[in-house]
Subunit: 137 residues, 4 copies
């Protein structure tokens, strides 16, 4: 992805990027696609009835990651307090989805990949949240 | 909208609906459309340069409302703890956007409508969050 | 919803609204929520393995409806040619999803409601597409 | 991104991936983030009033790319006819946005990056559309 390249050109950023946050943006988009794919692959499994909770958490996580990636991408104006809370919720969504997928890694390779992605995204969100100091609102 | 009609037919719900949550779903989708429209209308105003912060909060609020509406619509499996946190973040997104729009009500009718929608959605999210008792996770 | 109220206040619209298009916007958001709910309800059914195709079309239709609702909501600048094509694709997504859901109306009330919503949205998209005369691009 | 790794594990795919389509999925998510960032950067420019059309096309393109990336990621069931049309609409959204951004490359580096991304995504969508042979519907 090209989030770093893009955001460094923002007129209010001018190269002074928050690299931890930008890495988080890319993890969010990646995890959104992976969770959507994992839900879709779970749905095609013979044991789909046992994967309902996994599909639910996949879909929720995908939605939260996309919204978080969008919020984290914006640099015009200021919404730090909201962004920090959203990053924390996204870390939680990833933790829950990653733990659920983690229970299916022996049988489903897609759950293994998704579980690892959720762990990466959870860490990236937590690290990014720690860099944000709400100054307004 | 038809969220009540739909969710009452879910096999795990069977008519035992959380009406406060369902009202919140409809407010979220409505507010998502309104905030997107308000950002678009602000962008067309002559004083657009003074409305940057409003557009930013509109777009963030629209994204958060959509994700919240999606999470709140699902009844298969269980993700209550995440849903409650998401509802709280959505209430915050609506509060911030509603306050910003509230500063432009004298000059921009779209900001007045959006401000009122954000207030309704904020209340609906807070009321819905209060109904959710996380039992797992 | 409040799409009419909002869009009529846009500075480039000033009350001269395309009412057919605005009705379509509301159908798109409504159908997006309904299709998402139908996918979720299908997933909870005992016969979920037989509803895979229905869930797939539900999820695709929900995504297309949301994107179409967003494009159709914007009035700043001009993108008519794209909007018309998107409305046509959305009508097709609704037709396919509505037909699939229509095969399950006897057993699943959520599919009946979704099927009717898809039919309404398909018509609204086709009617809206017919009102749009691409003048640029 | 990891779309290839994920989709190759889908039970109905089993390694028999459509590599052109998978590359397109990654371009769609990338372009969605880039277009959202470009809209945000344009909004912060001093000459924002002259960039309204660019912001409009950026936002529309971002929405269409995300929906297309989602549809293209699903392999359960079948929706080829819809997917092909969506890929074609996405190519058109990218063409229009890329041309508009292309007019601002001398003054705005973000428009240069976005213009190049739109061109890549347009090509990827057209190439992917050509691989899809609707067999049902």
């Amino acid at each position: 992805m090209h989030a770093m390249e893009m955001i460094s050109t923002h007129p209010d950023v001018r190269g002074d990027t928050n690299d931890v946050l930008i890495r988080c943006i890319e993890e969010c988009y990646d995890c959104a696609q992976i969770c959507l794919s994992c839900a879709d692959a779970c749905l095609a499994e013979r044991m789909v009835a046992e994967l309902r909770q996994c599909i639910r958490l996949n879909l929720d996580c995908s939605d939260v990651c996309l919204a978080t990636g969008a919020l984290a991408s914006r640099r015009t104006g200021s919404n730090e307090a909201l962004l920090r809370r959203m990053l924390e919720v996204c870390a939680e969504a990833c933790r829950l989805c990653g733990e659920e997928c983690g229970q299916h890694v022996d049988r489903h390779e897609h759950c293994r990949i998704c579980s690892e992605s959720c762990l990466r995204c959870e860490r990236a969100c937590n690290e990014a949240a720690a860099t944000i100091t709400p100054t307004r609102q």
